[in-house]
Symmetry: C2
């Protein structure tokens, strides 16, 4: 095996996404999907697009979606890039802005796709340990690198670095691109999109998968200076002119325009999150402060591995990372109130926190 593989891929370890169970019915709290359906307007737009027009190529620029984002975010179209999920957008950004052999920097605990991109494209990685409280130390991110990647709020911790912190990092790296991955920002975080006017080195990446309930449609965005957006388009148009299909463009554009639905649903997720944090703290869990649609929690008495397996047996999928410093934590997506009550009951049994009838 690997007989015909290029040197580029001989030794890389691809990203492993969270499980998508095909058979048994689970309460699925493992891949940070939204528990609520997409906007009815998005579904209607998709239905409208499901017809003969599918025989035609999509608009390669996805203009309908770019225009919707420009209006809703108050930006120029040249400041916006759209792609096949934020993962693809990030992979284009790594190719567009980080040189082979150069060294980029990101925290030791963050989205585990970053080192995967870097390995494929021959970019070196320097990881900076987060503090004991999982917050980001500033100094190591201020210069001395060829690029910076910050998930904000961070994953899987859920912790947010404030806008002032991002600003300091941008100012500490005026000649390097700083990618701020805001996949989870819509659940209470503060977006730095408004900073793209002031910082030509800032690229902000977002997704329709979480806050717009469209993980199944594969749509991500990037916001930045027109020079950065042109760089992303250069990569895109060198690998696949049409990364977004007609239905994805139409559905995501309608979802972006449906601001009321978006606001109502993300508020609902945040309310459930706070309720769940309370339930878990009552069971003795440590829960990191989350500005996302997931929480990162550990129990003083029961290991992460045991909790993960125990929940799976009870029909609840969460994400567990078997890696240093966080092996006792579970990353738990915020579902409906009902999902989270089931989770709390299961964790109560698994931790012996309270009697079943307490």
């Amino acid at each position: 095996m690997k007989e015909f593989w290029s040197g580029r891929i001989q030794s890389i370890t691809p990203y492993t996404p969270g499980e998508q169970p095909r058979e048994r019915k689970f309460i699925k709290l493992n891949t940070n999907e939204n528990p609520y359906p997409p906007s009815p307007k998005a579904l209607e737009a998709i239905r409208q697009g499901t017809g003969e027009a599918l025989r035609l190529y999509p608009d390669p620029a996805g203009a309908e979606l770019v225009q919707a984002l420009a209006e809703v975010y108050g930006l120029e179209e040249e400041q916006i890039f759209v792609g096949n999920g934020s993962d693809e957008v990030l992979s284009f950004a790594f190719q567009a802005f980080f040189d082979q052999g150069s060294e980029i920097v990101f925290p030791d605990i963050t989205y585990s796709f970053y080192p995967v991109y870097a390995n494929l494209f021959g970019i070196r990685c320097r990881t900076v340990p987060l503090g004991d409280d999982f917050t980001l130390p500033m100094e190591p991110f201020l210069g001395g690198n060829d690029g910076v990647v910050i998930a904000n709020p961070n994953a899987p911790t859920g912790i947010e670095l404030g806008t002032d912190g991002i600003r300091r990092i941008l100012e500490g790296n005026p000649e390097r691109v700083v990618i701020v991955d805001e996949a989870y920002v819509d659940f209470g975080g503060e977006s730095v999109v408004p900073l793209i006017r002031d910082y030509p080195n800032l690229l902000v990446v977002q997704t329709a998968s979480k806050s717009r309930s469209l993980a199944g449609l594969r749509v991500g965005f990037a916001f930045g200076n027109p020079d950065l957006i042109a760089g992303l388009n250069c990569v895109k148009n060198s690998v696949n002119s049409y990364t977004l299909d007609r239905l994805a463009i139409a559905g995501a554009a309608a979802a972006v325009r449906d601001v009321d639905y978006f606001d109502a649903r993300r508020r609902q997720v945040m309310a459930t999150r706070e309720r769940t944090v309370g339930q878990l703290k009552e069971l003795g869990f440590t829960v990191l402060p989350s500005r996302t649609n997931f929480i990162f929690a550990s129990h003083p008495a029961v290991s992460g591995r045991e909790l993960f397996s125990g929940l799976r047996r009870e029909g609840i999928l969460v994400r567990w990372f078997d890696q240093p410093r966080i092996a006792d934590f579970l990353r738990i997506t915020i579902g409906t109130d009902g999902d989270m009550d089931a989770l709390a009951s299961a964790l109560e049994r698994l931790t012996g926190g309270k009697g079943p009838s307490a």
Copy 2:
């Protein structure tokens, strides 16, 4: 500009897709789309999928589509890869099988995306001139390279190299991957998919965009030895775990299973092609022998540029390549009989071939 661009993209020229007009109503014969709608079963599958489930990530492996292809083509699932259009599949193949700095070989006149991929990934290209009749000379493809890419039937010429020719190339490069891009094979060409059992170095790439009328849905396939398929998955899972959205997987799977519809529509396109070839030859055109859903034609008296512009003025879009050897040719997609009658009338006027009332 390009202030923050990586060295990788500083000097590349991306691919330019054919125009997708947003305003004026054209007869669109410029991007090799199918004139007929997708299978009604594909549209129904998409409608069925348009609901709450879009909040969930798709199956990263696209198993439903892989299974459909395995059944219809009589293959094992490990011999099949699915991606976001054959362009994306090809870009993954270039990364997976061709080393940086190595030299691959393809004809001087072929799909113009190949050198674009190569440039982005630092692969060197050697182009072999096609013969005066635009057929492929064998010798230059038999060894002495690090990989081979053959569009078969070729684009934009439409000319097919027979299976024996492909077999010779495979045997002349036993330690190199030979990519056979069969984007157009379903319109009368002979597929070499059955050869993947005998040649572990053969990767066959196909698409749902042309023969299955799903250009708007972005679905491509690759067929090959499990080792090659694993290589493609390694690249895919290093850039974007979910390249196909839920609707694309469901729609393409239904389209693949609807073999009767597929056969009826491709026969219709081929019949119209033969009819159009006759019309154009009557007008004095040279038409290369096509096994695709387009024809490549030139006129002895009127230049390609003039014909292209003249047709555009008459509301008919075709593709014209301003490059050596083929600047007098038009690449004309096969539309409906009505589309092609309009084309023939317009060309009659532009070439003065016959009086308008002849």
